[in-house]
Amino acid sequence: MIEIRGLVKQFPGAAHPAVDHLTLMIPEGEVCVLIGPSGCGKTTTMRIINRMIEPDAGSVLVAGRDVTQVDAVDLRRGIGYVIQQVGLFPHWSIADNIATVPKLLGWNDARIAARVDELLALVGMEPAMFRSRFPRELSGGQKQRIGVARALAADPPVMLMDEPFGAIDPITRARLQDEFLRILRSLKKTIVFVTHDIDEAIKMGDRIAILRDGVLVQYATPMTILAGPADPFVESFVGTDRALKRLALIRADAALEPLGPVAPAHAIAAQASLRDALARMFETGADTLAVTGSNGEVLGLVTLAGIRANTRSDDATNHCQSPYCL
């Protein structure tokens, strides 16, 4: 759990503070995405949490402890740190890279070796094949997998990730996002994730903090932000297609309507999003689709009118109460 209270940081010669009285609370086990245009203070905020930058005022509490009261080096050994360029040590093997923090903490060799193999498997890289290789032999995507494995090595409760997939091609990036989302959720870590890509934020975040010129503009779940942007800046930031983005967050079987007398000609899977359903409707020219379950059985219908109703709602709270919401 991370608590940021009244955090202030101004760099000498800057026109306005990089971080301007920021207050927010990140519940344990959640992914909080910091997002905003260049210079909004998202990276600065993240780097204050592990004291790579010292704050001017305010406090940051990690698991109840004020970070400025703890030795900075010890603090960092307990926080996972992933940066965009990864920063793998070129003169060390993959195994040695991953083992960095465990070695600093004095783990014994056997424990380290076992942990290295465990993490390589976790990030989808065959241990026997990769542990003795060197960073220069890896592709961009593979390097970042190792970067994440390295950050997870000592099993820190908190992870800081600064645009980790920014330097990777879009196809690999989408795959890495899915994989890491799965891994990080299963490990129940508290994660601070910095990005400038709103689609990545919506995909990865339990909560999104939108920053501008060092000020927190809105802090809420993706659905809430998409349904009710706090001001014109947020509205333009999330994009004019926010209605469609919202649809992408709702499953087809969350907007189920009862079957009528006539079975529709076309169907959509239950776990597909309403956005996919809309696309299928445009493709086929139908305004009604059957929603099919995993065995092909028909669960109900989605209609064009029903989808429209979902987007029309101005309810600022997360109106999708169903556990089926993505």
């Binding site: 940066i83 360029q85 040590f89 960095t100």
Partner: protein, 215 residues
Amino acid sequence: MLLVEAWQFVAAHPERFFGALYTHVALSAAALGLAIAIAFPVGVLLADKRRLALAAITAANIGRTLPSLAVLALVMPVLGTGFVPALFALTLLALPPILINTCTAMQQVDADIVDAARGMGMTRVQIVREVELPVALPVIFAGIRTAAVQVVSGAVLAAYIGGGGLGDFITSGIAMMALPQLLVGAIPATLLALGTDRVFGYLQKVLTPAGMRAR
């Protein structure tokens, strides 16, 4: 043939030859050792102090342009002749390449690697020892290699200020126009310099971390 006569000269005066050879090697090794002992730590310490580093590198660059014989000669009115003055001058000559290479190599270590190391909780000393130095080592050692060859070559000139070494044969050979003697100095000196370059080149390869060797 000249070479045969040169060989006969060595055979006739073995103590002189091996004495000179020994002095030459001792002078070179000592000068190199001293230069490393001074320039390497200074280079490492100055690496993150930008203005001091810049001043030091600028001074070293000027030092590098000075003609070797001029430096040796300048020492003479101050320190006299002999082994120690020669050692002093040769050490001065070896300092610039080592200092420049050490300082710039440390500065040029990829900033992202250093950031990652810091973010993971390495202390400053650990970062220098485990990350910056190993990564910078190939370039640092290239500077040492340059200095080594320069010292071995410069030691030939040490003969002029009474430092001994293989240069003695060359100078007396020229003075007396005794060509065999000249070769007794010139050929071993050349071989010594080439050999030093080879040996240090090999060491440089060996000391490059496995992960960073050219494929």
